[in-house]
């Protein structure tokens, strides 16, 4: 178990290192530097600017400096917004993204599991069919399409929810709906198929034979075992919700990291793009690492396999 966790941890660190190096060298591969395109800057000022951004040093030295700064939690300074530190920009905008993301993850898990469970318990009945049609739609329709349609129908046409902004609890509904459409679909499908498997297994028959009530069987045995595959999806779901929030924040005018990211892409503000990429990378890889560990901790059956595999 400890060896497995250590291995996963090492794996995460190596992946992060590759991501950081890749972002750095990709940014260096861009022809010219951030100041060449702008109107003629006097030579001395240019030298100062180079020195400020460490651009006057050899590439490899810049790379080492960059790595060192990241370890200290310093992601550099924005090139377009005057004297704004990238870490500052991230910490200022992170709270709205975090709130939205956490709510979305909780809603996705609860609704997804409930939907999948209903579908499994009423297998081949109306609920099952409706849930599975919804699941296919949720997987197939891109989140920004869902968001735009929701905004048009529920906010503009029927005026149930506010169109934009992120102030009160009512502002959460539409972005969360748009963000969770596809995770809910995936979770519902995962839960349904694993629950169906569990429902047909021998120990459920035993539980029935022991005279347990239907409620006890479902809550004690079916749910506990059927929910296992959902845990493996937590890592990918985090990725899904983060990438989703990049466009969702844009559509609903939420001042989170995603919006900042899009803005940085449009203005080609490289330090911010790099910083947010690395920040996202850290969140996603930590989420994946925790998923791996949680799965081994929860499911005793795969412990051995994990030891052997790594």
């Amino acid at each position: 178990m400890i060896r497995y966790v250590f291995n996963r941890f090492l794996h995460m660190v190596v992946s992060l290192f590759v991501l950081i190096s890749a972002t750095f060298f990709l940014m260096k591969a861009i022809p010219g530097d951030p100041f060449t395109a702008e109107k003629k800057i006097p030579e001395q000022i240019l030298q100062r600017l180079y020195a400020q951004y460490n651009l006057d040093k050899p590439v490899f030295e810049q790379y080492l400096l960059y790595l060192k700064n990241i370890l200290k939690g310093d992601l550099g300074i924005s090139m377009k917004m005057l004297n704004q530190e990238v870490t500052n920009i991230i910490s200022q905008t992170f709270s709205s993204s975090l709130k939205l993301g956490v709510v979305a993850i909780i809603v996705a898990v609860i609704v997804g599991v409930a939907l999948g469970m209903l579908a499994a318990l009423y297998h081949r009945k109306l609920i099952d069919n409706v849930a599975m049609v919804m699941a296919v739609l949720g997987i197939a329709v891109p989140s920004f399409v869902v968001a735009s349609l929701l905004q048009y129908l529920l906010a503009y046409h029927w005026k149930i929810f506010p169109v934009m902004g992120f102030k009160g609890p009512m502002n959460y509904f539409l972005p969360v709906m748009a963000l969770t459409a596809s995770p809910i679909a995936v979770i519902a499908r995962l839960t349904r198929s694993s629950m169906l498997e569990v429902l047909h297994s021998e120990y459920i028959k035993t539980a029935k034979a022991k005279g347990l009530s239907w409620f006890e069987i479902v809550s004690r045995h079916v749910l506990r075992n059927g929910i296992l595959p959902v845990i493996t999806y937590v890592g990918p779901m985090t990725a899904n919700i983060i990438t989703g929030s990049v466009v969702i924040e844009q559509i609903f005018g939420i001042g989170g990291i995603g919006k900042q990211f899009v803005q940085a892409i449009n203005t080609r503000d490289y330090p911010i793009i790099m910083g947010i990429t690395i920040f996202y990378g850290v969140i996603l890889m930590v989420a994946r690492f925790l998923t791996d560990v949680a799965y081994v901790a929860v499911d005793p059956r795969i412990k051995l396999a994990g030891r052997k595999g790594d």
Binding site: A22, L26, Y152, A239, V247, T277, Y280
Partner: protein, 314 residues
């Protein structure tokens, strides 16, 4: 027959009703039913799946429209008419016009064309690269497999869309660079599928038989292993098309897709966001086409999986 039997409680049979036909060994060997190959069998199963067949028809329709539709109307995707901007759908402009007076019908189908090109090209590259890489991993195993697998695992654990965004920020977005960026980690999934299949097939008896008759690795790989792994490979390719289409739309939504005035469904939806309250048709038609495309590919892929591997069906 059944209805008639239901009225009779027990069939009244007399000894005369039976006759001896003897033990004819020759006839026992005759194949009564037309023999079906595995592929015909799968096709038969697929044909009975109404959802999958509907999806297939929609896919074909979308493909035909994407090829033909732009030639049916007297406009091109970039011909603007500033006298008729943001016009609602009419007989002149089936899907209406956008803020430059460009015909949304032509632009939607040009966008669908780009979506399909990106989806199919990315899937093809994933297929070729994934099969070669996964084939080598699965076939040779041991240390080669270990190293190659570690490499692909690390590449895979770097968030996909972040890499793609980085690449497109650095290289000017065009159709080629988008496809390249999408395939840079897209092949990994395919390689794992192929690896798993080949590892599993490698230990089967028919491979041992072929090996014992002196087949070399080329024959083993191309005559025995890959054809038998074809089912999962086809399913993975089909399902990787919609995810590539989604990624392309997502990127053009962010402004990292094909550059204006070329139309892409994602960028059309993004452009329409500024005025969707007044001009909803600018969003609805591209949104409908991209959703239908992804939906039909997903449903068809699911149907294919059920048809090719009935064991997996739940």
């Amino acid at each position: 027959m059944l209805a008639a039997n239901n009225t009779v409680k027990q069939a009244e049979l007399k000894p005369e009703d039976f006759q001896t036909i003897g033990n004819n060994h020759k006839e026992a060997e005759v194949i009564q039913r037309e023999s079906l190959s595995a592929w015909q069998d799968a096709w038969e199963r697929l044909r009975q799946n109404k959802m999958a067949m509907t999806a297939l028809i929609i896919m074909i329709l979308i493909a035909i429209l994407a090829i033909v539709a732009p030639h049916l109307v007297p406009y091109t995707y970039d011909s603007n008419d500033l006298m008729s901007t943001n016009k609602p759908p009419s007989w002149d402009h089936l899907f209406g016009t956008d803020d430059f007076g460009r015909d949304v019908f032509v632009r939607t189908w040009m966008g669908a064309r780009i979506s399909l090109i990106v989806g199919l090209a990315a899937a093809c590259i994933d297929l070729i690269f994934g099969v070669i890489y996964g084939g080598i991993m699965g076939f040779f195993g041991g240390r080669i497999d270990n190293i190659m697998n570690k490499f692909s695992e690390i590449l895979y654990s770097i968030p996909y869309l972040l890499v793609v965004i980085m690449l497109l920020v650095v290289f000017e977005p065009s159709l080629g660079t988008i496809i390249l960026a999408l395939t840079i980690t897209g092949w990994i999934n395919m390689s794992w599928i192929v690896r798993g299949e080949i590892m599993q097939l490698k230990s089967r008896e028919f491979i041992l038989a072929s090996r014992s008759m002196g087949a070399d690795w080329k024959r083993l790989l191309f005559k025995h292993l890959l054809p038998n792994a074809m089912g999962p490979i086809i399913v993975t390719v089909t399902l990787s098309v919609p995810s590539a289409i989604f990624s392309e739309a997502f990127l053009s939504f962010l402004g990292l897709g094909v550059q204006a005035p070329v139309a892409s469904l994602g960028s059309m939806i993004n452009d329409s966001l500024t005025g969707w309250m007044y001009y909803p048709w600018r969003m609805i038609f591209p949104a409908l086409v991209i959703s239908l495309t992804m939906l039909s590919f997903n449903i068809f892929g699911d149907g294919l999986r059920d048809a090719l591997d009935p064991k997996l069906k739940k």
